[in-house]
Each structure stands twice: as structure tokens, then as C-alpha cells.
């Protein structure tokens, strides 16, 4: 399954629901375009829901980092929601678990932006 990206608004937080594979090529670029579009619109509170992501490679990890720096550089915040065990493992191996704010519960994640 290739990547599927959908956005929805919860209060003033934009939740990006990602499903499928975030890998080099289409998967990574699709996510990048969505993030850049939101940042250009002035959205500063972004919650990336990775609960339905089945596979992520090193390029996909790179896209998460790129998304984080893009949003942060514009004065915004990007946080992660619903990591699978495999994605958590990847973030731990790459030491990025300490960089991202990670949540299991969406309501709690949304409240954290306040």
C-alpha cells in the first residue's frame, strides 16, 4: 500500500493522518508537500498521526525530521501521535525519540498544544 495523507482540524490543531508506507520516492514527497502547504498557510500546530503507517525507511525518517525542522523554523510545533512499535524502534535506534514529542492519546496530544 502506498502512502495516504489526509488532514483534519481539531480546534486550532491540524491533524495529519498518514497511512501506508513512508519510503524514498512518492511516500516521502507526498508527506513533504502536505507539511509545506500547511506551513505556507500559517498553520503552526501540527499533529502527525502515524498510527496507520505500516513501514518507514531511512528516507521516511528523514522526512519526519525535515517536517519537524520546517515547522519549528516557522515558529510552530510538530508532534507525533500513535507510533507503532516498529516506528518507535526506529526513532530509538536513530536517537530521535528524544527530539520529537510523542503521544499515544489524541486528545492529550491536542491539549498539549495549548
Amino acid at each position: 500500500m502506498s502512502i495516504q495523507v489526509a488532514t483534519r482540524q481539531v480546534g486550532d490543531v491540524t491533524v495529519i493522518d498518514v497511512a501506508g508506507r513512508i519510503t524514498l520516492g512518492e511516500g516521502a514527497s507526498s508527506l513533504r508537500e502536505t507539511i509545506r502547504g500547511l506551513v505556507n498557510e500559517g498553520q503552526k500546530k501540527i499533529l502527525l498521526n502515524l498510527g496507520e503507517v505500516s513501514y518507514i525507511d531511512s528516507s521516511g525518517i528523514g522526512e519526519l525530521v525535515s517536517a519537524f525542522t520546517t515547522v519549528t523554523n516557522q515558529g510552530g510545533k510538530l508532534k507525533l501521535l500513535g507510533l507503532t512499535k516498529r516506528v518507535k524502534d526506529l526513532l530509538q535506534i536513530t536517537k530521535l525519540y528524544t527530539v520529537f514529542e510523542v503521544f499515544d492519546d489524541e486528545a492529550e496530544a491536542v491539549r498539549s498544544f495549548a
Partner: protein, 160 residues
């Protein structure tokens, strides 16, 4: 693809394939290796880890080794034994110095967009070897054992 005689290590060659220098080759290579690993009896998690290591290795061969050249190929060989699978991936590029690569775990590199492929490969297999080929190219060998938890501290890693 052809099957050959047993290797000294008890491995038998299961696959010998030549792949084009395009990103789709990573998908194909992953599929080929996982088919062999399934025959050996790898668990789902072991398959995932080996598959990702193969994928990252082939992407490196295509992108950094052959630089997408239509004139250069990636050779994939898969060997199987009762307790492990060995994979070699060879490109026709100019090679590189492993020691010269930045450490992706260094504080100043944590927010770099790229440079984590080798880290993941080494984390997900039990043995990692790299050697220069003559007259050109680089060959990476990955070995993953069944029922053994891979990790950087447990695996061997060397550059020949």
C-alpha cells in the same frame, strides 16, 4: 537466476540476480530476499528487519553507488543455510570510505535529513561487511540468523 553448489559455510546460493539502477529495484530485492528468508523459517519481525536492511542497502547501491546510471547494474545474491540468510549487494560505483561518513547519532547530526541508512542496516542484521570490488564497485554482505536478536552491540561489522 540460478541455483549453485553449496558454499564452504554450509550456505547454498538461492538467488543470483542483476537489477537495474532504479528505486523500484529495492522493492524487488526486498521481495526476493524475504521469499528465501521465509523458506528458512524467519519470524515476521525478523523478516521485517532483514527486508529493511536489504532495501536500504539496495537504495544505497542505486543512489550513492551507481547514481541511477542506466549503464550500471546492481548484483543481488542470496545464500541460505538452515539457520541464516546471507545477502550480497554489489554496485558498480566509485566506492566510498566508510570512516568518512558523518555519525548520524552525533548531537549535531540528529536533525540532518539523510545519513541513517547504514545505521539501520547494521542495527537490523547480525553481520555487516563491506569490500571494494575490482576494477570498481562496492559489495555489501549482510547476514541474518534465525532466532537471534539483531543489534549493533551483538553484530559484527567490518570493512574489508
Amino acid at each position: 537466476m540460478k541455483k549453485q553448489e553449496d558454499q564452504p559455510t554450509g550456505e547454498s546460493k538461492a538467488v543470483d540476480a542483476v537489477l537495474d539502477s532504479e528505486l523500484e529495484s529495492a522493492d524487488g530485492a526486498e521481495e526476493i530476499v524475504l521469499r528465501v528468508a521465509q523458506e528458512v523459517g524467519f519470524s515476521e519481525e525478523e523478516l521485517h528487519r532483514l527486508g529493511m536492511a536489504v532495501r536500504e542497502t539496495v537504495v544505497n547501491a542505486v543512489v550513492h553507488g551507481n547514481r541511477y546510471s542506466a549503464h550500471k547494474k546492481v548484483r543481488l545474491q542470496v545464500f541460505k543455510a538452515p539457520d541464516h540468510v546471507a545477502v550480497t549487494v554489489a554496485d558498480e560505483g566509485n566506492g566510498f570510505d566508510l570512516a568518512s561518513l558523518p555519525d548520524p547519532l552525533a548531537e549535531e547530526n540528529l536533525l540532518q535529513q539523510s545519513g541513517r541508512g547504514l545505521l539501520l542496516i547494521r542495527a537490523f542484521v547480525d553481520e555487516f561487511q563491506m569490500r571494494r570490488l575490482s576494477p570498481c564497485g562496492t559489495e555489501v554482505k549482510l547476514v541474518k540468523y534465525r532466532n537471534r536478536r539483531s543489534g549493533q552491540s551483538e553484530g559484527s561489522s567490518k570493512e574489508e
